[in-house]
């Protein structure tokens, strides 16, 4: 019995081998250049990545992209670094925006997009991308280092129910920080929400975005774009003033500190806060699970610092072409073709509309407008408008600092210490600058070695 099964199996193998050889279509499929793409997109986002990849694979016969989920952003970056060291780097890796500084210092480990486009002859035009998006991923001279993919920005989410309960007009969200303080007080007085104001991503929103909006440097050397010897500049007067405002609000109970990074997200979705600062990418989750009336609004600004605020900066991730020994020209070309495919107006628009990320290309935005997406989804264009308003300055291009995730943690730690009452806003920012600068110097030293 057993022998017969074995024989049968052997026969099938031979047969199928013969069949494969006989079928030219199948054979051609196996000759397709294989491109590996590591990403960090889960659930609906992951499904959308798979859909785009399948569409690309079906659109031509030369290249076959395989998308692999590799864990969270930090995991993808760590895995990519480890894979490069083993000579097995993926062709494309999705790296979060705060990893940009590290990736730029990666020398021959990456083939920057401008170089990829030049070598392969596949046009990937920087000017088709939204300036404040591409600025984050470009070299000082405008050449693009990585391809923008999923970008979001920070905005204000208003709980309209809580606003009404507090006697505020939900159609007039607070525009300035002074308005925010007043609104939060009204909410607290009327007990209209459990928490008048919360913030996710404290460092990204309350310091990085705040700096860009008010045209003040987060770090010297044009926020790090002009050199590895940049130093943090967040202990300036306007920064300390803002942190002091948050401390005061926390003391009077109008601001609830609810944790680092995305930890406070569930509070926004549960409608516990009247005003929540968070990523524009929360839109999808709000549509799916919020049981209250909500609306997006622009991030508030301080008119005592700037008359009209600049563009906000992005978050999210971009795609980095990686190198490996023995990687062929055909493989690089395949990677370039896939990047080109993702940036077509149709795909950029679809990605934006299906995920809640902002469209990374201008054509994607215009197409979405033409398709009537913003008419059907009021406020979905607000993040793009906030990203594209005004003229980008060196303070609103984004950040170019090595080991930025670590610096974010340090800043969050020092703000937490200030909220605990262990230090003043000035002390918190001074210590954050001192500790952060040490990290920057370590990075500078390690990259130069």
């Amino acid at each position: 019995m057993k022998r017969r099964t074995l024989l049968a199996a052997a026969a099938t193998t031979t047969l199928s081998g013969a069949l494969t050889g006989a079928l030219p279509a199948r054979a051609r499929a196996e000759e397709r250049t294989k491109i590996v793409f590591w990403h960090a997109m889960t659930a609906a986002l992951g499904a959308e990545v798979d859909r785009l990849v399948a569409a690309f694979n079906a659109s031509q016969t030369e290249v076959e992209v395989t998308a692999l989920y590799k864990g969270g952003y930090a995991d993808v970056m760590t895995a990519t670094i480890a894979a490069f060291r083993a000579g097995q780097a993926p062709h494309l890796a999705q790296i979060f925006e705060v990893g940009t500084g590290t990736m730029l210092a990666a020398g021959k480990a990456v083939k920057q997009v401008w170089e990829l486009a030049q070598e392969t002859g596949v046009p990937i035009k920087p000017e088709s991308y939204i300036p404040s998006v591409r600025g984050y991923y470009s070299l000082p001279d405008g050449r693009m280092a990585s391809a923008p993919f999923n970008s979001s920005t920070a905005i204000t989410w208003i709980n309209k129910d809580a606003f009404e309960k507090a006697g505020l007009d939900p159609s007039k969200p607070p525009a300035t920080w002074q308005d925010v303080v007043a609104a939060a007080r009204a909410v607290k007085e009327k007990n209209a929400a459990e928490m008048p104001m919360i913030t996710s991503w404290p460092c990204w929103i309350q310091l990085e975005q705040y700096s860009a909006l008010h045209n003040i440097p987060f770090a010297t050397k044009a926020d790090g774009f002009d050199g590895l010897d940049a130093e943090l500049a967040i202990n300036s007067k306007p920064h300390v003033k803002h942190i002091q405002r948050l401390l005061d609000m926390s003391k009077e109970g109008t601001f609830k500190y609810a944790g680092r990074d995305n930890v406070p997200d569930p509070l926004l979705l549960a409608g516990k806060a009247a005003i929540a600062f968070n990523s524009s990418g929360m839109r999808g989750d709000l549509i799916k699970s919020a049981k209250f009336a909500w609306a997006p609004a622009y991030l508030p600004y301080d008119p005592e610092i700037i008359a009209s605020p600049l563009n906000s900066i992005i978050g999210g991730a971009s795609l980095w072409p990686m190198t490996a020994p023995n990687r062929t020209a055909a493989e690089y070309k395949g990677a370039a073709l896939f990047l080109q495919f993702l940036a077509t107006p149709e795909n950029a628009a679809a990605w934006h509309q299906h995920t809640g990320y902002v469209p990374v290309t201008l054509a994607g935005f215009e197409l979405s407008e033409k398709q009537g997406f913003y008419k059907a989804n009021a406020g979905a264009d607000l993040p793009v408008r906030q990203l594209t308003r005004g003229t980008v300055t060196e303070n609103s291009k984004g950040l170019r600092l090595g080991r930025l995730p670590e610096i974010r943690n340090i800043i969050q730690e020092e703000i937490e210490k200030a909220l605990q009452g262990q230090q003043t806003a000035q002390q918190a920012m001074d210590t954050a600058v001192e500790r952060g600068n040490k990290v920057l110097r370590d990075f500078q030293r390690s990259v130069k070695s």
């Binding site: 970056m77 590290t102 990666a106 500190y257 944790g259 670590e406 070695s449």
Partner: protein, 293 residues
Amino acid sequence: MERRTLFEGWLLPVLLVLPQLALTGVFFLWPAAAAIRSSAMLEDPFGLGTQFVALQNFEALFADPLYVQTILRTVVFCAAVSALSMSVALGLAVFADRDIRGRVIYRTLVIWPYAVAPALAAVLWLFLLDPHIGLIGRALPRIGIAWDPRINGGQAFLMVVLASAWKQVSYNFIFFLAGLQSVPRSVTEAARLDGARGWRRFRTITFPLLAPTTFFLLIVNLVYAAFDTFGTIQALTQGGPAKATETLVVKVYRDGVVNVDLGSSAAQSVVLMAGVILLTALQFRFLGRRNTA
């Protein structure tokens, strides 16, 4: 009669030992050597440029007051977790050692938490202690306790100690119970006849006889608290607020995996390795001697 198996030649013994040697080599010696090598290097994340810096990574580490604070914090954390989990386990073991109805059920139930994965244990504790969704966390403000481990370092520390200790109670319980059962009945009977009451019998007879078990568990608990609590802490607090719950392993993870600062992270691993070697040596020295004596 001597019970010993003698092998002809050397091939078979070598073959028998080889798998174990290979495992030790691949999973212990090789990584340890790599860590020691990295700890003496200054390296960019991608390994494009590597520079020998001798002990600079260690110097930088111990010159950093924050690292020294983390060491002290880890010591306090280990002591708190060990003391709490061992005392609770001892109490439970003493009660379970009595002749009570359904003690098999109690014993089984007490052992359960050991099978819970660290991250899951942390989530379970969040369901209790989280200030927004936790049962107890939400009730505390109503009785006048301003409970907010997201910002209160002391409370966050308490939370990670509770969750970590809870997970280790089961393990300690099994060993204490076995230890209690091996205390000779005749000795306790004799004490009883001499008129010693429960607490006195426990203090003067049972507890001293449990000393080897207690010492063994102390070492195991210290090692557990220092190393195996990473998942619990990472899931509960990520080391925050500020640095209130950052122990040495949490810092190794953050510096090595998140910050890709390989030299410093490797140096920290080597420091930790020295700690484990020290604890293990202590255990062998004291327990080993007792057993052979």
